[in-house]
Symmetry: C2
Subunit: 416 residues, 2 copies
């Protein structure tokens, strides 16, 4: 048995115990986790300082260093997040459906944990706690494999989590860290059939595509966001410019940010200068074809075919002038990652057709794509935004981290 | 582009059209399919006769020949099944959840089709129609790869289906048959990422395990059934014997049939002879350990470790004497495929503990495992019994062949 199989088996055993834990037991454990994160933050911060020093020495970019860095304020925020998850309703045991059959069988469809979740992610130590805590609340054991740049931080915090679980009466092995951060260990995790019930990659598009392409355990793809804002010819153009600016610039690094604007030819000449009035505040680099360049001149660099499929993740935007609704919808079907898509229009019929025709986790009329988020939808904390159609689509909260089972109460029934 | 990629792309296009089809359009198409199956049954039966002749010449076993064979009565039953699916409520467009946000956003979670489903199955021509029709009703295009022994039958009936779809105004490519029945074509289908939204293997455990182990597209595992009946020491022993007999013998070839009985040591000596009074009617071969052999003598052949994980699919049954509840539940956790598990007991607390502790798609108290079935649960036609935890668990009907999307009605909202 490999080290990871041994961890997987331990997680399976822990998951059986956790599946039987009461809501009170789980909430007590989460409160203990939040307390321990604060009480033992010096351990976590010291480990994080060592990670940061090594990362700086290795020349890590400032934006990535910032994601890696912890301080007292961030730890307090993470601990507060744990308490918020503890306060969420427990999905486990909820009765989804009840059926009574003519032969007297009483059938109940109940919500149960998935079992053991695997998370593969990059160098963000907050993900370690956020992901573990959501999995625990939904009754799942979790096997975590974070990026090697955050290894010391993750090792420190997972020890704190495991101690807190044990002290509150749940198995330590409800949470485990994969200590080998090589590429091989990622592949080993993707092949951990029989131990992992689900594998969720969290990180950049490269990581997610690679896991989806190579995994043999069930995967949930999250957070791939080539999102479009389509400015229809009947749009309120000022509203469209404000929505586009928000969708692109309010936080360009996240998956629900827009990467491409589609504009009906009939309004392109009016709209593009209006949009630029907003976008120029962030020096957004526009990638467009000849039509966009005719209108905005040198503010637009020539787009290549690649631009239409690129998740820039920063202040860059692809610009495409289209002949109308059908071309826009076909373009979205060809280039969207199925995350969030928006139309701006005053036309009722066109709005309804867009909602029907566009195949994505979230489809908007007259609002920014940036709202695709568990909290913004009123659903609470999430482990990611699923862009696939199986199991869960859109913000993946506690309920999406569960399965169901049928329980059947009989009195001797046999089938004819 | 390979032949299969070309089919996949055509199916994707057809799926977009089908997703926009109204309930009336889909039902009209299904009615046309049912009519065409009857009107053109001679074509189907002639192709089936050729398949049967070739299979007989190749020495196919009688049980398999029977599964392959069609006649007028079977065709009439299949056509009637199509009409029943047409009569089911349309899941597409159902609103699963509605949320109103303080900022005025109105969010709706709607049921939508999965897209393109792939089905890999063996030489049962009725599956071709049953699977296609369920997929169509749920708005999905379908790519079918049946066993080579049924190829002529499948080719004939898929032509009938495609003609009927086209005549009723839907794209022919909503249904397509993979004409290459080699092993490579199965692997090609498992790798058809970007075209297939889900792949469902239907057939024996070997086929299902192979698809689950080798596929890179999302898979739903169905129909693997190593199911147990656990006779607790507080059972009504006559009820237990009748339930066991029904679970094993009413149709041993299906996935919800029992393969193993667990018996508390305290009642083994009383129970086994009572059970044998029933089981001997079908000459059931018992595979058991020394304790079972001490009680029933030569009716029990020595069990090997393999027996505990075998889906016999016929009149054979593994027999295991256990020390009590904990051993029974641990044994089930170790050997069950997570399909259907039953306890027979008069003890209220033990019954509840079993329902909580056993992790399977269906968990029974005092009833036969044979009820795990869409119709028996009152849920209608199904494409299989899912034994996995992701996406769907238990009978997979129309609803389980769908996904959801969020649609958001705004009036200019941007995120702060």
């Amino acid at each position: 048995m490999t080290v990871m199989e041994t961890q997987g088996l331990a997680a399976k055993h822990a998951a059986r115990r956790l599946a039987a834990a009461s809501m009170e037991e789980k909430n007590r454990a989460l409160a203990a986790v939040a307390d321990a994160l604060l009480r033992r933050q010096d351990e976590w911060l010291a480990a994080n300082a060592a990670d940061l020093e090594a990362a700086r020495a290795a020349g890590m970019r400032p934006a990535l260093l910032d994601r890696l860095a912890l301080d007292e304020g961030r730890v307090a925020g993470i601990a507060e997040g744990v308490r918020q998850v503890a306060a969420l309703p427990d999905p486990i045991g909820q009765v989804v459906k009840t059926i009574r059959r003519p032969n007297g069988l009483k059938i109940e469809q109940r919500r149960v944990p998935l079992g053991v979740a695997g998370i593969i992610y990059e160098a963000r130590p907050n993900v370690t706690v956020d992901a573990a805590v959501l999995c625990l609340k939904a009754g799942n054991a979790v096997l975590l494999r974070g990026g090697k740049e955050a290894f010391r931080s993750n090792k420190a915090v997972v020890a704190i989590l495991r101690d807190a679980l044990e002290a509150s009466g749940l198995p330590r092995d409800c949470v485990a860290l994969v200590e080998d951060t090589s590429r091989q260990s990622a592949q080993e995790m993707m092949d951990l059939t029989g131990y992992l019930d689900v594998l969720i990659p969290r990180g950049g598009p490269g990581l997610i595509r690679s896991v989806a392409a190579n995994a043999h355990v069930p995967v949930i793809r999250t957070g791939e966001g080539v999102c479009h804002v389509y400015v229809h010819q009947d749009a309120d153009l000022d509203m469209a410019a404000r929505i586009l600016y928000n969708a692109k610039c309010s936080r360009p690094s996240v998956c629900n940010a827009a990467e491409c604007v589609l504009i009906d030819r009939a309004v392109a000449e009016d709209f593009l200068p209006m949009a630029w009035e907003y976008l120029k505040n962030k020096n957004v680099v526009l990638h467009g074809g000849p039509e966009a360049r005719d209108i905005l001149g040198d503010f637009v660099v020539p787009a290549t075919e690649e631009d239409w499929d690129t998740e820039y993740g920063d202040y860059q935007l692809a610009v495409k002038v289209v002949s109308g609704f059908d071309e826009a919808v076909d373009f979205i079907a060809a280039h969207s990652t199925g995350h969030s898509e928006a139309i701006v229009t005053k036309n009722y019929t066109v709005a309804q057709r867009f909602l029907d025709a566009v195949d994505a986790a979230a489809v908007y009329v007259n609002a920014s794509t940036r709202f695709t988020d568990g909290f913004e939808f009123g659903l609470g904390a999430e482990i990611g935004i699923s862009t696939q159609k199986m199991h869960a689509r859109g913000p993946m909260g506690l309920e999406e981290l569960t399965s169901t089972k049928y329980v059947i109460y009989g009195s001797g029934q046999v089938r004819e």
